[in-house]
Symmetry: C2
Subunit: 418 residues, 2 copies
C-alpha cells in the first residue's frame, strides 16, 4: 500500500516566520519519502480543505521552497474560521473526510495558535469518529506567545525583536528632541490578552534610566494617577518618557483603556485605540508634548528584522511535525522545549493537543517588576535568547525580495461544498 498523502494548512494571524514552518514541512516530507505520498497545501487554511482548494507543493523547486521560507505573511492564505462542535453539526466534518478520502490524505499538519489548535484537536479525533485513518499534528505559530506547554511560539521571537528594536530606536529620537519638543513617546503593541510582546519592549533598555520607562501590561490593572505620576517623574529625571503599551491595557474592572474614550460628537465610539487615549490623558494632566506609533501588522510581518532563533524554531517545528507523523503520531502539537539558558539550547517535543487547545499561557507574575511598569531579570533570561540573531532575506533594489510561490491546484474530485 503506498503511503498516504498529507495536507499542510495555515491558520489564524500570519507571522514573519510562518512560511519557514511550511518550508520545514515540505523539505522534511520530501526527505521522508517513500513514507509520504504527495504534500498538499490548503488554500486559505481550513477553508481550502472544505472547498477542495489544494495546492500541489511537489511542483515547487528546492529553490522556490527555500524562498518560501523567507517570505512573511501566509503564503497559501490563512483563515479565521471556527468549526462547529461535532455534536452540534457534523456536516463540515463529513465534508473534510470526503475531501481527505478523495485525495488520499491521511496526515494533516495544522499550523496555528490557540483557536487553531482547537481545530487541530477536533481533526485528530475525526478518524475514530468517522472511521477514516487520519493523523493530525499541530504546528505552533502565534506572535502572542500564549500557547501552553511549549516554551515559546514561533512568530513571537521576531515580533519581540521588532518591538525591542523599535523601542530602542524611537527612544533615541525622543531623547535628542526632548529639550524643546516631544517629551513623551508611546509605542502601542499587540497582546490583547497577555503582555508577552509588551514585555519584549523592556529588552530595549539595559541600564537604569534607559527607555522604556513604563510598560503597560494587560496583567497589571491600570491606575491613571499612578501612571501619570510615573510619567512626570520620568520626564523630570530623564527629560523624556518612553512608554510601551500593550493594546490589552485595562482598568481593574476589566474595561480596556482603548474603549475608555467614550463616543465622539456623532455618537461614534472613540476611534484610534489605546495610544491616543494615553496621549490625551498625558496632555490634559501634564501638558507634555507627545507622539505615538502604532505597530499593528508591522510587528508580525517585519521579516527583514526576524530573529534567527525564532526562524530556527519555526523551521524545526515543521520538520519535527513530519517526523512525528512518520512515527504514527496523532493529536499532538510540536513544542519547543528549552534545555538550557547559558548557552541557550532547545529541542522539539510532542505536546498532547488536549493540553494545548483552548488554554492560554499567561505572562508569569515573576516576569513583571514589583511596581508593575517593567520587566524582571527572570523575564530577560526568558526573552533574551528568543530575539538573538539576524536573518535578513535577500534584498534587491533596496527592498527585501519576497517571492510568490505559484503552485498548481489539485484537480477537484467532488461537487462544491455549500
Amino acid at each position: 500500500m503506498p503511503a498516504p498523502n498529507a495536507l499542510y494548512a495555515q491558520s489564524g494571524g500570519p507571522t514573519a516566520v510562518i512560511n519557514a514552518t511550511a518550508q520545514g514541512v515540505i523539505e522534511a516530507v520530501r526527505n521522508a519519502r517513500p513514507a509520504f505520498g504527495k504534500l498538499y497545501a490548503a488554500r486559505n487554511g481550513i477553508l481550502g480543505a472544505l472547498h477542495e482548494q489544494l495546492l500541489d507543493t511537489d511542483a515547487a523547486s528546492a529553490r522556490e521552497v527555500e524562498a518560501l521560507g523567507q517570505r512573511p505573511g501566509s503564503a497559501f492564505g490563512t483563515a479565521r474560521y471556527k468549526l462547529a462542535r461535532f455534536e452540534d453539526d457534523e456536516r463540515e466534518y463529513r465534508r473534510l473526510i470526503d475531501v481527505f478520502r478523495a485525495h488520499d490524505i491521511g496526515r494533516v499538519f495544522f499550523n496555528g495558535g490557540n483557536d487553531s489548535m482547537d481545530t487541530a484537536l477536533k481533526l485528530s479525533e475525526l478518524g475514530q469518529r468517522l472511521d477514516y485513518p487520519l493523523q493530525c499534528i499541530g504546528l505552533p505559530k502565534t506572535v502572542d506567545n500564549d500557547l501552553p506547554v511549549t516554551d515559546c511560539c514561533p512568530g513571537f521571537g521576531s515580533a519581540a525583536k521588532y518591538v525591542a528594536v523599535s523601542t530602542r530606536e524611537a527612544a533615541l529620537d525622543v531623547a535628542g528632541m526632548a529639550r524643546t519638543s516631544t517629551k513623551v513617546f508611546i509605542l502601542e503593541v499587540m497582546g490583547r490578552h497577555a503582555g508577552w510582546i509588551a514585555a519584549a519592549g523592556g529588552l530595549a533598555g539595559t541600564g537604569s534610566g534607559d527607555a522604556p520607562h513604563i510598560i503597560l501590561f494587560p496583567e497589571v490593572p491600570f491606575e491613571a494617577e499612578r501612571f501619570l505620576e510615573r510619567v512626570r517623574e520620568s520626564v523630570e529625571q530623564h527629560e523624556y518618557c518612553v512608554i510601551v503599551a500593550s493594546e490589552g491595557a485595562r482598568y481593574a474592572n476589566g474595561r480596556f483603556l482603548s474603549e475608555a474614550g467614550g463616543a465622539d460628537a456623532f455618537g461614534h465610539k472613540q476611534l484610534g485605540g489605546l495610544a491616543p487615549v494615553l496621549a490625551n490623558m498625558i496632555r490634559e494632566s501634564l501638558g507634555y508634548k507627545h507622539h505615538y506609533a502604532i505597530c499593528d501588522y508591522l510587528q508580525r510581518s517585519a521579516r527583514h528584522l526576524a530573529s534567527a532563533t525564532d526562524l530556527s524554531h519555526a523551521y524545526a517545528a515543521g520538520k519535527a511535525g513530519v517526523e512525528m507523523a512518520a512515527d504514527g503520531g496523532n493529536a499532538v502539537m510540536v513544542a519547543i522545549e528549552r534545555t538550557g539558558n547559558h548557552p541557550y539550547t532547545w529541542t522539539t517535543t510532542a505536546a498532547p493537543l488536549d493540553q494545548v487547545a483552548n488554554r492560554e499561557k499567561e505572562l508569569p507574575g515573576e516576569f513583571i517588576s514589583e511596581d508593575g511598569y517593567g520587566i524582571t531579570e527572570a523575564a530577560r533570561t526568558y526573552l533574551q535568547p528568543l530575539i538573538e540573531g539576524e536573518a535578513l532575506p535577500p534584498f534587491r533594489g533596496g527592498l527585501p525580495v519576497y517571492e510568490e510561490i505559484g503552485l498548481p491546484s489539485a484537480q477537484k474530485r467532488l461537487p462544491p461544498f455549500e
Copy 2:
C-alpha cells in the same frame, strides 16, 4: 595666527543618519588640520551655542566617531528654536557672538532642514553685521525631503526605505488574511506639507495589482466618494486594499483629514490622527474589516533599515561642508547633485543659503499618477536610487548597538545667558 575653532550643531527633527553627517564633519576636520582648530558640538543645537554648552569632540577616539555615525537620533541633542529677526531683537545674536569669541569659534556647521537653514542664513550674515569673522555652512537633513536646490535630503532615503519595506511586508500579511478577516490596511506616514514619504510607499509594488493600491498625497485634494469607490474596487479585484496615507492628506478646502473627526463626548478634539478617520469612513461606508499602523518616529529612527545611499549622502554632506569652510565658504548649504540615473551617480555642490532658507520643494506633479492615487515612472526613477543598499549597524544580543558618545564640556567662560 592659529586656525579658528569650529562648532557643529544639529537642529530640528532627528533622522536615522544625522550622526553620519556629524561623523563626516569630525573626521574631515581632523584630516584638515592645521587648517582647523578645535571642533565643538553644541548640546541641543542652537541652545547649546546660546548657553555655552559646548562638547569637545576631540576627546572622542576614531572608533567612537565611527560608532557615532551608526547611531540614529540626535547624538548631541537638537532643538526646535527660532531666533528672532535681527531687526527685532539683537540680544541672542550678540550673545552668540560673545560665545563664539570666547571660544575662538570662526566656523559653524548647522545641520538641519528648512527652518534650520533660516537660522543658518541668519548666522552667516552675523559676521558682517557685528564685525566678527564667521563662516556658516548649512548641512542638509530632513526626512521630509523638502529642501530646495539639493536633489534630495539626507535622512529621506532611509525614511523612504522604511516606508517601502513596511508597506511591502504588511501587505503580504493582509493579503494572506483577507479571505476571512482584514481587508483594508492603512499605513500612516509623515509628510505634513509634501507627499515625498508617501510616494516612497509606492516602491513597495512593482506590478499591476501590487500593494499599495492607494496612496494619499497632501498634493491631491481628498474626495471621499472617489476614495471609497477605489477601496471597494481594490477589494473586489484583489480581495484586499493597502493604503499609504500621508498625514498631510487634506480636502480641497485645505482642511486636514486628521482634523475632520470633530470633537468627542467631552468636547475634546478628535484623537488619533488620520488613519482612524479613514478607517472609520471605510467601515461606515463599506463595512470592511480594517487595521492601521502609524509609523511616526519609527520611520525616521529605524537605523537598522537605513539606506546605504542615504548614509553615504549624510556622511558626504559633513565632509563637503568642512571642505567648503576650509576654502573660505560662507552662507552656503551642501547640496546633493544627481549626475546620472543609470547607474546612479552624484556629487556634492554648494547651494547659496538664501536660495534654500524658507523655501520648500514640492513633490512634482509629474510624480503623481493621473488618478492621483499612485506614483509614475518618473517618481520611481527619482526615488529608486535613494533607498538602495543596506547598511546594518552592529548587533549584539539581538539588538542594534547604539553607543552614547561621552564628551567633556568646554569650560564656560561667560556668565549665564538669560
